[in-house]
């Protein structure tokens, strides 16, 4: 009657969405199967909930000090280091997991350097103080690369949030499990809820809602591999003049130094003038 300890049945994990720091199921109650695991199939409503969470998180996250954001991104690297085994269990190799951890460290260091590298003091022809500095664009929608479910994901999320943006990410459709496990890392890294929101499911279903959402300020289409879908998402994004990062012309080598090209599309340069006088 009582099963022996040797036959203990394992406790499986339910792979859910990550919205506003919580792990809800899709409101649609749907899932799809990946590697014998049911994964939440996000809906239009989930996209909207995620955008709401990202918008709510934007003001405090963008107002946090750059030092604080850098500390938190570094903390993500620490947490990821501690969970290496979980990612290796997905079949990712050591080098990929190492690179993903190191990428968080690299971007963490950018938090308090961006304004110095990307801002400027402007010598205007008159008695004025004039300073330009970068600020985050706002809520950024991201279609993560389908073929690089951890390193590619980290490489598109970290550059958006380091400057104070908040994001809604559509995870790799064929390999969503590393994304949800990364969400568990994020949830334990002092990252405020809502800064990163991760949805699993079908990009052709959720992408159009994200691209056309009027409270999303920018969209990164890096992970859209169907050119016709990418074009229609870019057209939808035009409605409120979202900043758009198009899918890459060539396949991306995620292992190389990314430079600042993934941070600057989600920055707005603000210039402040003030007269000088006594």
């Amino acid at each position: 009657m009582v099963s022996s300890p040797a036959e203990r049945v394992s406790v499986r994990k339910t792979y859910k969405l990550f919205i506003g720091g919580a792990f809800p199921r899709s409101e649609s109650g749907r899932s799809y199967v990946v590697d014998d695991t049911n994964v939440a199939l996000a809906s239009r409503k989930d996209v909207r909930d995620a955008v709401l969470a990202a918008r709510a998180a934007f003001r405090p996250w963008s107002a946090a000090t750059a030092y604080n954001r850098g500390q938190i991104l570094y903390r993500i690297a620490e947490m990821l280091e501690g969970r290496r085994a979980q990612f290796l269990a997905f079949g990712l190799d050591d080098a990929t997991v190492d690179a993903s951890i190191d990428r968080w460290v690299w971007y963490a260091g950018w938090a308090d350097k961006l304004a110095q590298v990307y801002g400027s003091a402007n010598p205007v022809a008159g008695p004025y103080f004039n300073l330009s500095g970068p600020e985050p664009t706002g809520v950024v929608g991201i279609v993560a690369p389908p073929d690089s479910p951890l390193l590619g994901l980290v490489s598109v999320v970290a550059p958006a949030i380091v400057s104070g943006n908040t994001v809604v990410v559509l995870a790799s459709e064929p390999s969503p499990l590393p994304a949800i496990t990364l969400a568990e890392v994020l949830a334990t890294s002092d990252l405020p809820g809502g800064v990163v929101n991760l949805l699993t499911g079908r990009v052709p279903e959720t992408g159009p809602w994200l691209a056309s959402h009027m409270d999303v300020n920018a969209i990164d289409l890096t992970g859209v591999d169907d050119p016709a879908l990418a074009t229609s998402l870019e057209q939808a994004a035009a409605e409120n003049l979202k900043r758009v990062v198009r899918p890459p012309a060539e396949p991306v080598d995620w292992t190389v130094d990314p430079g600042i090209a993934r941070m600057t599309p989600f920055l707005e340069v603000k210039t402040v003038w003030h007269p000088k006088g006594v």
């Binding site: 205007v124 003049l241 003030h274």
Partner: protein, 474 residues
């Protein structure tokens, strides 16, 4: 108001030709299908010249001229490109009076503004970017900065020559070639600039200028031979362009509409603030995308600010753009006048209170008296939509948080103003305003070294400064 004797600037310095062709590959040519349109003086409705309307094959010719010129222009040493651009700056300075008079004639803006703002800033812009041409590797845009290719540039009618400078100067410095289309109501200074390119011996095809209306502009930005699109104008057209380039590899910068808040706190120096308010909304007849068209006044000083503002507005002189005493010139076109009138009538019908100083307007031409609306709420269309005319909506606030909330309550985000004597308040408010340019205790200041551009639906990309180069470097 004091009586002033008329002090008109002589227009004899300008020799306007009866008709102008298209400037393609270094020389003027008739349009292939031969159609033309007239450009008029908005102050008198007098026809100034006939201008060619570029059709599809003209756009093709201009783009291929720019394409043909690109390899050689891009391959020139930066220092050589710089010298050509310096020449352009110098010739604009040498012909500054002519350009200022022509700009005021064709656009309707006061000669004081074209003479003291538009033309000197245009020259300064070329001078500034000339110096970048041989220093691109120091611009922080990567170790081997390269030009993008052929730039399609479409500019508005509010600052015709200055917008041309904002577009062409950084493009040439970066090694790109351009096809530029000026607005259909203000093509003349761009056509004189084409002559200036000839005078400077700029290699043919590096700058091409084609005239026409919206259809010509659409064909230009959608042309498959174009690598980069730069547009300044309405948010609606900006949206169309963003849709049109979807799925291409074209790089795009858009500088679009605005509905800027000009925030006056109770400790502001009122007289200075009133000057800033007037400059913010009545400069260039309010035909300014970054105009301070929403005045937010702290309730405790509302009565005093409003009284001082009305006193000051009663001193504004509306009339002949060529008169050196004129503060407010002509509205640029009948169509724009109609839009300003319509939105103003909506302002009244929605319940806001309209006021203008006593002011006699000329019989001919397009004119609109400086106007303020009080009792405006955030729901009113005059508080939400860009009027692009000398019309100010006045709102009030009690707390700094309320001021920020109201200032940001718009889909636009181009500019904003803050008036207060408290430094820490300026910095805190400036941090919270979602706008690309924040003028504190000043307004409507521009400089070639200072980046300009919007947040949100005011567009993307920056013009001016080191950041302005980024749009033209691949």
């Amino acid at each position: 108001m004091f009586e002033y004797a008329p002090a008109p600037e002589s227009r004899s310095i300008v020799d306007i030709k009866p008709s102008y062709g298209l400037f393609v590959n270094g020389s003027f040519a008739e349009p292939t299908d031969g159609s033309t349109f007239k450009t008029i003086s908005p102050a008198s409705e007098e026809v100034l010249a006939e201008v060619a309307e570029a059709g599809p094959s003209d756009v093709d010719r201009a783009v291929s001229a720019a394409r043909d010129a690109f390899d050689r222009w891009a391959a020139l040493p930066g220092a050589t490109r710089a010298k050509y651009i310096y020449r352009l700056a110098r010739i604009i300075q040498e012909r500054s009076r002519e350009l200022a008079v022509l700009e005021s004639l064709d656009n309707g803006k006061p000669i004081r503004e074209s003479r003291d703002v538009d033309v000197p800033l245009a020259a300064a812009h070329f001078f500034y970017y000339a110096g970048w041409a041989d220093k691109l590797e120091h611009a922080g845009l990567g170790p081997s900065p390269r030009p993008i290719g052929v730039a399609a540039q479409v500019i508005p009618w509010n600052f015709p020559l200055l917008m041309l400078a904002w577009k062409i100067a950084p493009a040439l410095a970066g090694g790109n070639t351009v096809v530029l289309k000026p607005a259909e109501t203000t093509p003349l200074t761009a056509l004189v600039f084409a002559e200036i390119c000839q005078q400077a011996d700029l290699p043919p095809g590096v700058v091409n200028i084609i005239t026409g209306a919206g259809a010509t502009g659409a064909r230009l930005v959608e042309h498959p031979g174009v690598d980069k699109v730069a547009f300044t104008g309405s948010t609606e057209v900006g949206r169309q362009i963003a849709r049109a380039v979807a799925g291409t590899r074209k790089r795009v910068t858009l500088e679009l509409g605005g509905k800027a808040a000009n925030i006056v706190f109770d400790d502001a120096p009122i007289d200075q603030a009133v000057e800033g308010i007037v400059n913010g909304i009545f400069f260039n007849q309010g035909h300014v995308c970054c105009a301070g068209s929403r005045l937010l006044v702290q309730e405790s000083v509302y009565d005093g600010v409003l009284a001082a503002l009305k006193r000051r507005m009663a001193q504004l002189r509306v009339g002949d753009p060529l008169d050196k005493n004129t503060d407010i010139g002509a509205i640029n076109s009948a169509a724009q006048l109609e839009r300003i009138r319509t939105l103003s009538e909506i302002g009244s019908s929605e319940g806001a209170e309209r006021w203008s100083p006593p002011c006699s307007l000329p019989d001919r031409g397009f004119w609109f008296a400086p106007t303020i609306f009080t009792g405006v709420t955030q729901a009113h269309r005059i508080a939400r939509e860009e009027i692009f005319g000398p019309v100010l909506s006045v709102l009030t606030f009690r707390t700094p948080a309320e001021a920020v909330e109201k200032a940001n309550n718009t889909p636009y985000g181009l500019s904003a103003g803050v008036w207060t004597e408290k430094g820490s308040r300026i910095l805190a408010i400036a941090d919270q305003l979602r706008a690309g340019v924040v003028w504190a205790n000043t307004f409507n200041k521009f400089d070639p070294s200072s980046p300009f551009g919007g947040y949100k639906e005011s567009g993307y990309g920056r013009e001016g400064g080191r950041h302005g180069l980024e749009a033209y470097i691949g």
